[in-house]
Symmetry: C2
Subunit: 157 residues, 2 copies
Amino acid sequence: MQTPSDDAPPARLTTLPSWLLTQTATHAHRLVSEGFTAVHARGYHYRLLAALDEYGPASQAALGRRSGIHLSDMVATINELSERQLVEREPDPTDRRRNVITITPDGRRQLRLLDKQLTRIQDNLLAPLSPEERDELTRLLARVLDHHDRRSTRSDG
Amino acid sequence: MQTPSDDAPPARLTTLPSWLLTQTATHAHRLVSEGFTAVHARGYHYRLLAALDEYGPASQAALGRRSGIHLSDMVATINELSERQLVEREPDPTDRRRNVITITPDGRRQLRLLDKQLTRIQDNLLAPLSPEERDELTRLLARVLDHHDRRSTRSDG
DNA sequence: GACTAACGTTCGTGCGGCCAACGATAATCG
DNA sequence: CGATTATCGTTGGCCGCACGAACGTTAGTC
């Protein structure tokens, strides 16, 4: 009784950029999630480890700003990572409000592992696109993202 | 005290398609959410109304397939919409397992309203891109999405 | 009539993003 | 100095979206 296109989304949606964006992001998120949970990780873990690896030890607040993780979510994230000795949390001797978070050797290994997973996943995600098209998509997305990041972040004051 | 790039995400992320995708999607989602909550709607409502408008009355299961809304989430969605007389839920006389969901005139008006909001939002979302670039982005996203939709949906059997 | 499948419903899970509040500590200004 | 303001970490909660498990009801099928 149902037509072959019983599962086709309304036409209104299929050309709506915001919808295309959130839908493809959902697929991307699913792929990443699957790849990450296979090694007992999730997005926040990767972001945090990446920020630590790139910028070195930092306070939770600074890490939150850099990785885009809300301060209130940093706590659990660091708990999870420190339980597995992927990061270390120590009080900052120079500022007793702060903790200093440091990535451990195990943390770096995990980060490399996640990097590998991600590389595979990108290829999977962008399978239908040529290398040039992948670059183009990346470039366009980066510009859109940059634009909106500036607006929200440049609360310069 | 903090460098100007204190809030810059790790380099590893800034060229990662899956990350660019989910981040821009987050911005898109935020913009859409704001526009929708202003008229007491959310994404599911739009999707459902759009599916109804395009395909006509249908069962909840069929609507779920078309709009990509999980069957278990359809219940609440239809509850919310029917409370405001935007859709009607009636038992299907020809199949007592089913309900027939119908969009009401008020529902169509709401849908038009949401369409307008969305048009504005797309422009906002893609502000940094030229018309050609917007088309290109749309095209690329549609291809990626189509690819992954096929994989997950064509479990036909 | 037994079995299978579809439908609608309820409940619960997970991730990601976010807000409110609070105590502790630092920095600043009178 | 003391009072005020700001930052930091923490807890607890909420929302949106996607998804799974389970259950009773009803339709088709053998």
